[in-house]
């Protein structure tokens, strides 16, 4: 009896093993995936930011390099520690924190005290990104949120600019004060400003890379720069400058406009997902930047890109709601 039982149970086991061997994993279609990944996209953005970073270090030397390293290290570390403490999946490997750190650094003056850079990095990752749920969940660009936090907290050091170790106003501030500026220098980047914003040429090289790799959608920068240019030209005509293309070029190359249009406004998480929404969002930032730069009012700040993008970030849910695409065949009529 016993042996019989044993035999049957061993036969059953055998059968079970056989079945396990035959049964393989299944899943619902599709069964293939593209090679794109979040980490790959972030690496592309980092590559796109390299020309601007190199120009920043070339222009401002070791202090710029140190601030870039501080911001990247602090952002990555903040993300890692926060996720460790809150027992979430560690997402440092997707490089999004590195992008935030690099972007933040490029938006800081090279002379900013190092501890303020540390504070900004922690604010970007913990307050703006992680407290709202981590990657994909933040409603505001973390780097820009941190930059605005630093601008409000440390107005003096955040607006103190030097070039060749000499304290000087940024070209945009000079323009506002009615002083002449050298557009070619602004295009190449040999002017005062934040680490990454001065060289339009370097930013455009990065933009070309991201567009070719289809990482960013041209709709946002095109709508942004287009709308802003139209506003500036209308202002130029209205203020008696005439159709002044050099004035427009100076505005386009000045301040954080190019860096913002290519790398900040195009941040996936905080820009609309709908194609039409992206045009509206870009145009909105263009108008806001023009209004905040208010070239007619010499008493306000010459800058306006960061706040414009942040305000538009907040409006993204509304823009999306009203720009949902029309589905294929919606409202189609029967063919008779």
């Amino acid at each position: 009896m016993d042996t019989g039982k044993e035999q049957s149970s061993s036969a059953l086991n055998e059968n079970k093993k056989e079945n396990e061997k035959l049964i393989r994993k299944i899943s619902s279609s599709p069964h293939v995936r593209s090679e794109d990944s979040t980490a790959g996209i972030m690496l592309d953005v980092i590559i796109g930011l390299l020309p601007a970073s190199i120009m920043g270090v070339y222009n401002f030397g070791l202090p710029a390099f140190i601030r870039i390293l501080i911001c990247i290290a602090c952002c990555a570390a903040s993300e890692w520690i926060f996720e460790l403490i809150t027992k979430r999946r560690i997402t440092v490997g997707d490089f999004s924190a590195v992008v935030t750190g690099l972007l933040l650094a490029l938006n800081l003056p090279p002379t900013l005290p190092w501890w303020q850079a540390v504070l900004g990095s922690i604010f970007a990752i913990i307050i703006v990104k992680q407290l709202f749920g981590g990657i994909g969940q933040n409603f505001m660009n973390p780097a820009l949120g941190a930059r605005c936090f630093l601008l409000l907290s440390f107005a003096q050091t955040m607006t103190h600019f030097t070039y060749d170790a000499v304290t000087t106003a940024t070209p945009l501030a000079l323009m506002k004060a009615g002083e002449p500026v050298n557009v070619l220098q602004m295009f190449l980047g040999s002017t005062a400003g934040t680490i990454g914003e001065t060289s339009t040429a370097a930013i455009l090289i990065g933009a070309a890379y991201l567009l070719i790799k289809r990482v960013i959608d041209i709709r946002i920068p095109a709508a942004y720069l287009g709308t802003f240019s139209i506003c500036i030209l209308i202002y130029a005509l209205a203020s008696g400058r005439g159709f002044d293309l050099m004035y427009l070029a100076a505005h386009l190359c000045g301040g954080g406009l190019m860096l913002g249009a290519v790398f900040m406004a195009t941040d996936y998480v905080t820009s609309p997902i709908t194609p039409v929404g992206r045009l509206i969002y870009g145009a909105l930032i263009g108008i806001l930047t023009f209004v905040l730069r208010s070239p007619w009012n010499p008493t306000t700040s010459a800058e306006g890109v960061s706040y414009s993008i942040i305000i538009a970030n907040l409006l993204v849910p509304i823009i999306e709601r009203f720009t949902m695409p029309r589905s294929f065949g919606k409202g189609a009529v029967k063919h008779e």
């Binding site: 619902s28 599709p30 293939v32 794109d36 820009s271 709908t274 294929f328 919606k330 189609a332």
Partner: protein, 441 residues
């Protein structure tokens, strides 16, 4: 007007080079053959045989369970072993007729009821198609005679034969077009006899230039009402709604039928089945199956008797390379079904067996949506997959429907492109099925 393409779509690895130049080989099953009674949309067929009965090749062994249903014919001669539920590619057990193959392949007389085509009336042609048990052979399995009996036949002005074969790896339609172009066009000509005011279109993707050239030559020499359209190579060019739009510029949505756009869309293999049924009197019991993938020793195209087991055909193709494959799929990689056992029969809608050494889906871990918008730009249904999947995950069914979630055709483009590797199609598809099920109640 015809655009020959649509907005959105993707370009996955095609994998067609594995089998596109391999001529169709005939394969005769050695073991039992299994005929699930439900291998079409509609009521299951009712068995006409019982255990112990002898059957011949081409003999009807089950009759349609209603108008929207289809007959089933034996593909071998032998004895009915049993009628029991058997596993199918869909992952469910279906009542099936199992026939013990005697290997003789004795056939019934096909020509007995055949009339010359010119003497056949519209109803006689339809009856011949219905008698042959023909269903759409692209996978869905909608009974062809039902498709060919629209409410308002006069409104049909386009009969589109889908030769785009946009699903990666599949080459069965391509081989059909290359080896039996006359039957493909002949089948279409028969359908056009039913709709004399309609224009016939064979739509082929431009990655099959030889097939386009061959069919254009054949069509030009014999038919005035058939044109061959060259489509842009893109997945899912062959999706019914996108195909109609690409060829006619007309839109239909999920609540409409192709007939609402004056179109009827057919698969290539279905055309051949119609030709065989009407001209030769042969019912549907064979089809072309591509056995392919990097885990198969000799990828091939086979003319297979329906009911043959997947396992037999895989062994015929040389079996597996490097041991057990990670994944076996009935159909293509974009819309095919992963199967957990190969002890299942090939049915009317089986176009391919794809064996892959790697499971790409299992290899990647889904992360948070980064809102990159890639799913939106590739979606042929022009919905917002990221939003729909989010609503589906949170159980917001009403909002899911309000955001046109039911317009999704489950082509898989969104899951394919998602850099965060989210299972968008799967999530949306599950909710769609739940909504459809609740509507039926």
């Amino acid at each position: 007007m015809a655009r020959m393409t649509f907005r959105g779509g993707i370009h996955p690895y095609e994998g067609k080079e594995l089998t596109e130049d391999k001529p169709i080989l005939d394969y005769l099953p050695k073991g039992d053959v299994v005929f699930p009674l439900s291998q079409h949309i509609g009521a299951p067929a009712k068995p006409l045989v019982k255990k112990g009965d002898s059957v011949l090749v081409g003999q009807r062994i089950a009759e349609a369970g209603g108008f929207v249903s289809a007959h089933i014919h034996s593909s071998v001669s032998g004895k009915v072993k049993c009628i029991e539920s058997r596993m199918t590619a869909g992952g469910t057990k279906v009542e099936s007729i199992v026939i013990e193959n005697d290997g003789e392949y004795q056939t019934i007389d096909f020509k007995e009821h055949v009339k010359p085509l010119d003497e056949m009336s519209r109803d006689e042609i339809l009856a011949a198609i219905q008698d042959a048990g023909i269903v759409g052979m692209g996978g869905a399995g909608f009974p062809t005679h039902v498709k060919l009996s629209p409410k308002n036949p006069d409104s049909i002005d386009h009969i589109i034969v889908n030769g785009s074969e946009c699903e990666p790896y599949l080459t069965s339609d391509y081989r059909r077009m290359m080896e039996e172009p006359d039957k493909v066009l002949g089948g279409l000509a028969i359908v056009l006899k039913l709709f004399p005011q309609a224009k016939g279109i064979v739509a082929i993707e431009d990655n099959k230039p030889k097939a386009i050239k061959l069919l254009r030559e054949k069509a030009a020499s014999s038919y005035t009402n058939i044109t061959v359209n060259k489509m842009k190579t893109k997945y899912p060019e062959g999706a019914e709604r996108q195909l109609i739009y690409a060829n006619t510029g007309r839109y239909i949505n999920s609540s409409m039928l192709p007939a609402d756009a004056g179109c009827i869309v057919h698969n290539i293999d279905t055309m051949v089945a119609i030709y065989d049924a009407v001209v030769e009197g042969i019912p549907l019991f064979t089809r072309i199956v591509t056995v392919t993938g990097d885990a198969i020793v000799n990828p091939q195209n086979y003319r297979v008797r329906l009911g043959t087991s997947f396992q037999e055909l895989i062994e015929e193709a040389g079996g597996y390379k490097n041991g057990e494959p990670a994944k076996i799929i009935a159909g293509g990689p974009m819309m095919g079904k992963a199967i957990f056992t190969t002890d299942i029969p090939l049915v009317k809608g089986s176009s391919a067996i794809l064996c892959m050494q790697e499971d790409e889906v299992a290899a990647c871990e889904p992360g948070n949506c980064i809102r990159c918008g890639r799913c939106v730009s590739v979606c042929p249904g022009r919905v917002v997959p990221a939003k729909l999947a989010d609503l589906a995950e949170r159980g917001k069914i009403d909002e899911f429907v309000a955001n046109d979630g039911m317009e999704c055709c489950e082509c898989g483009c969104c899951s394919y492109v998602c850099p965060a590797k989210r299972h968008l199609t799967q999530t949306i598809s599950a909710t769609r099925k739940a909504v459809l099920a609740s509507r039926k109640k």
